[in-house]
């Protein structure tokens, strides 16, 4: 019985993130538009976009290979699996043990790996520019992510996300410099990973500045839908991650009742909404930077996260 409930929760979470993610994207867009004094599209617009894309036929470049066609599904799957493993409103997910924080980072890496390959597949200049920049960004963002996870893991004594989230709710945590550094670094990385301003601009098609959009330039129809969905999922995942680690309050523990779960889910949506607003605020208040400033930005994140790890030993010896 317990298994079934757990299974239920797991699947609820899985589909919750899948369903919520376009909404979050739409929400951020909406807020940004309002901040720019525009009306902006409806928050539901992403759903409509996806539906339209799914129905359309795919226009494939003549020399696109099988990899080009398989990649969207793989990217989507990897991202979805990663997102499903992050506790959104409840800890103690059934399958959370099958991959920990490190695996999470690696799953995101897998998705990116295939995305970058897909960008190179057709053999166009733009695809290449996107892939090349993407791997450059990733090569700094990934170690930063891992370092952040290290801080968390060292503090909580575990790389299991559920355990960490549980630990973060206990008073043992206290206020730590390391955590603050990790949070800042985490935000920086999340911005870079999700191709947000100032690292990348999700809305641009200006040739020389785009990264993510350049990679997916050749995609159309359902393939593009998959990739868009994966991008939304990724944004959601990062927000959930920040939420469950840094503001874990309200997560329902293992064996919590239905009401508790519902409350937690509501709280979660609230967290996402706040996160979305903050993201939009940040994005509108800053200008996109040159591509070669990005390494410095991410380098700072990496240094910050490493410093966070090292400071752990100073503030509290184990």
């Amino acid at each position: 019985m317990a298994l079934i409930i757990d299974l239920n929760i797991q699947f609820t979470e899985m589909f919750l993130v899948l369903l919520l993610s376009p909404l979050l994207t739409g929400w951020v867009r909406k807020v940004k538009a309002r901040l720019l004094r525009r009306q902006g599209p409806s928050v539901w617009q992403p759903y409509r976009d996806l539906a339209r894309l799914l129905k359309k036929e795919v226009v494939l470049a003549e020399n696109a290979s099988w990899l080009f066609r398989v990649a969207p599904y793989l990217i989507f799957a990897a991202t979805w699996v990663a997102a499903a493993l992050v506790p959104t409103f409840a800890t103690g997910l059934l399958f959370s043990w099958c991959a920990d924080l490190i695996a999470l980072a690696a799953l995101v890496g897998s998705a990116r790996f295939f995305l970058a390959l897909a960008g190179l597949d057709v053999g166009t200049g733009f695809g290449g520019i996107g892939s090349s920049r993407e791997v450059m960004i990733a090569s700094l963002a990934e170690p930063a992510t891992l370092m952040i996870f290290f801080s968390l893991a060292l503090i909580a004594g575990s790389t299991q996300l559920s355990t960490i989230a549980g630990f973060m709710q206990t008073p043992e945590v206290g206020l730590r410099v390391s955590l603050a550094m990790a949070l800042v670094a985490m935000l920086m990385v999340a911005i870079a990973e999700n191709a947000r301003i100032p690292v990348d601009n999700p809305a641009t098609h200006l040739e020389l500045t785009m990264v993510h959009e350049a990679m997916v330039l050749e995609y159309s129809g359902r393939h593009l839908a998959m990739i868009e969905l994966a991008a939304s999922l990724k944004l959601l995942m990062y927000l959930s991650l920040v939420g469950c680690v840094f503001v874990p309050w309200g997560l329902s523990p293992v064996g919590g009742g239905l009401a508790r779960h519902l409350l937690a889910a509501g709280l979660y949506v609230g967290k996402l909404a706040v996160g979305g607003v903050l993201l939009a605020l940040f994005e509108t208040s800053i200008a996109k930077m040159r591509v070669f400033r990005v390494p410095e930005f991410l380098g700072a994140a990496l240094m910050l996260s490493l410093l966070g790890v090292l400071l752990l030993f100073v503030t509290r010896s184990f």
């Binding site: 799914l54 036929e57 795919v58 490190i102 790996f113 390959l117 166009t124 090569s139 893991a153």
Partner: protein, 670 residues
């Protein structure tokens, strides 16, 4: 028949193939005959090794009347040897099968066939040697045999140079090991490993021996800064040999290190572990950075081996740190991670070299700037290479990820260490490891993306054809193993238990009993990973998505010209090149790692000359150490050379002066 008998028996069989190679080298029939035999013998040795590993009985010992009566001839097969033997012979089987196809295109088979079985035999022997003399003898034999293979295509000046540097470094390594053994055996030394193991070593001796062992085995494994030969020599050999050298021979070097430091040396100091860790970290990052800027596919793979060796040494350094501080369970984790990576790397690096060899066979090109679009012409090879690329990039659910994940888990245990140096260093090394992993992914996106995807950049690439069945069989076999090792790592981890028990006197918890075949290095609440489920989830959710969409939405496909923001250009030169792809990373890291300098010569408008872009990359290690060393030797040789052209009187004066000096010395001293 004990395992060591069978192991030596297979070595004898392999050695018996050498005369066959010498005599029949130029005949067409010799190639399939020899490689079939080599594959079968390796298979036998593999089975034997696996048997010995899984049974985990007492080590079997044999003493042969080799060398001198009190020196040499000891052979022994314990779990550590058995594990490495399994790795080696697995590589041997794969390479031999691959060579059944690849070897047909060999232009100078008489320069490959005699050395190939000798190389395999020597590697087997190193792993079974049980005294310093036999060990070094086989070690050098291995170097020599592989040197012969590197020199197979000796008409290229680069290959000859590679051979020279290789053998020089090999000799350097051997001499270091010689010194290490001399130190460990003592003045009137007994060189048998049993005696060395039994003798206690003072901390000073142990530290020095550790350093020498690190130099000696590191120079074979490709540890920075003694890696310089590796990216030259590995690509120079025929591809199946490159696979063996990169995938397997570096593991023999790791074995040497493990055997000396963990097994023979006994005690080590914690700062010894720091040295290993630091070198490992630097090696990992430097290796992958070098790999990132290579245009030669095989050289890229060779540099990537340097990176992976670095990762292995990080694991070993961690194990050393934990072992020194009496944390055997943690040491077992770190060591198992390193051993797992040894196994994994041998799989995917062989696979990738086979792929590169297949590309070489099909197109005759190694330069990525002349490849591209091979996924259409060689779909099977491409698929196998892709699997290898994913695996080596440490992406789940393939095997490369598992070992790196375990290494990270070991890194996370560092707070329990008492020494501040280690506490601070290990997370920093962890950071380097993470960086290396990320860069490796970038590197293989580039390798696969440029060589196999896009449009062909040369006529040869456009006309490539899929390679033969043997080559494909070898590649797919390894690819399958990569997947299996990735989703069922518990199997490998459990079979590594006796190895860890011998080396660090503890083992990781039993993994096979854990539900769902997860791996749990320490405790379930701490960390766990399940490759099988991750694999299934990804497969299921992607198939589900594909199925649902195809079923419910649309499955229509139309082929058209590439969009490319509306400006498609048919010229393949408009694609991103290998050099262009790595340019951002080169900019980020290159200026201080490679002392990279870019020079652009842009003609004035109206000038018809092409623009020229020139990149200069320097290997800092080469220019800082080897270049200077070479110049110093040259300078000294020049100075000394004056003595060749003295007059007879000059020579007599030398005699006279030295005699008078000596007599004066004697007069004073007496």
């Amino acid at each position: 028949m004990t395992p060591v008998d069978i192991g030596l028996g297979s070595v004898v069989l392999l050695l018996a193939l050498v005369p066959v190679g010498i005599v029949g080298g130029r005949r067409a029939a010799a190639t399939p005959l020899l490689y079939t035999a080599a594959a079968l013998i390796s298979l036998l040795a593999l089975a034997n090794a696996l048997g010995a590993l899984l049974q985990a009985g007492e080590p079997s010992v044999i003493v042969l009347p080799l060398g001198l009566p009190w020196l040499g001839g000891h052979f022994r097969l314990d779990a550590v040897s058995a594990f490495f033997l399994a790795v080696i012979n697995l590589g041997g089987v794969a390479a031999s099968i691959y060579a059944l196809g690849y070897g047909r295109h060999e232009q100078a088979p008489h320069r490959v066939l005699p050395f190939y079985p000798a190389f395999l035999a020597a590697m087997n022997l190193v792993l079974m040697a049980d005294d310093a003399f036999a060990f070094l003898l086989c070690w050098e034999l291995m170097s020599l045999a592989s040197w012969g293979l590197v020199m197979a295509h000796h008409h290229h000046h680069d290959n000859a140079r590679a051979g020279f540097i290789y053998l020089m470094m090999a000799s350097f390594g051997t001499l270091s090991l010689l010194l290490a053994f001399g130190l460990m055996a003592g003045a009137e030394g007994d060189y048998a490993f049993a005696a060395i193991r039994a003798a206690g070593h003072s901390p000073g001796v142990a530290a020095l021996a550790l350093g020498l062992a690190l130099l000696g085995t590191g120079s074979k494994a490709g540890l920075v800064p003694v890696h310089v030969w590796l990216p030259l020599a590995h690509p120079a050999a025929p591809s199946h040999v490159s696979a063996l050298m990169s995938g397997v021979m570096t593991k023999v070097a790791v074995y040497g290190f493990v055997r000396i430091v963990f097994d023979l040396l006994g005690t080590t100091t914690w700062w010894g572990a720091m040295v290993v860790l630091a070198l490992g970290g630097v090696t990992a990052v430097m290796g992958v950075l070098y790999a990132l800027v290579q245009n030669d596919l095989k050289r890229l793979l060779a540099y990537s081996s340097v990176e992976n060796v670095g990762i292995i040494f990080i694991g070993l350094g961690l194990a050393l740190a934990f072992r020194t501080n009496a944390m055997p369970w943690a040491a077992a984790l770190a060591l198992t991670a390193a051993m797992l990576h040894v196994f994994n790397h041998s799989l995917f690096k062989s696979l990738l070299f086979f792929g590169a060899g297949a590309v070489l066979t099909a197109t005759g090109r190694r330069d990525m700037e002349e490849l591209g679009g091979l996924i259409h012409r060689m779909p099977k090879t491409s698929f196998a290479f892709l699997v290898g690329s994913v695996a080596i990039s440490a992406l789940p659910p393939l095997n490369g990820f598992v070992s790196e994940w375990m290494t990270f888990q070991a890194v996370l245990l560092s707070p329990s260490l008492p020494q501040w140096g280690l506490k601070v260093l290990i997370p920093a090394v962890g950071c380097l490891l993470a960086l290396a992993a990320a860069l490796a992914a970038a590197c293989f996106v580039r390798a696969f993306g440029i060589a196999f995807l896009g449009r062909p950049r040369s006529q040869a690439a456009a006309e490539a054809a899929e390679v033969d069945g043997f080559s494909l069989a070898a590649m797919f076999g390894l690819a399958l193993l990569c997947l299996l090792a990735g989703i069922l790592p518990g199997l490998v981890i459990d079979s590594l238990a006796p190895v860890a028990t011998i080396l660090v006197h503890d083992r990781m918890p039993e993994q096979l009993g854990i539900p769902w075949l997860s791996i749990v290095p320490i405790a379930a609440s701490r960390s766990s990973y399940n490759g099988l489920l991750v694999f299934l989830f990804i497969i299921m959710s992607s198939s589900l998505a594909a199925f649902v969409i195809h079923r419910l939405a649309s499955k229509a496909v139309r082929r058209g010209p590439a969009w490319d923001c509306g400006t498609p250009d048919a010229d393949p030169a408009t694609q991103y090149s290998a050099g262009g792809f790595s340019q951002p990373l080169r900019r980020v890291f290159g200026t201080f790692v490679f002392l990279a300098r870019e020079r652009v010569h842009m003609p004035q408008p109206g000038d018809a000359r092409p623009a020229v872009f020139h990149v200069r990359l320097l290997d800092p290690v080469w220019s800082a150490v080897y270049g200077r060393l070479g110049r110093a030797v040259d300078l000294t040789a020049g100075r000394f050379n004056k003595f060749q052209t003295l007059t007879i009187r000059g020579y007599l004066s030398l005699v006279f002066l030295s005699l008078v000096t000596l007599l004066t010395g004697l007069a004073i001293w007496l």
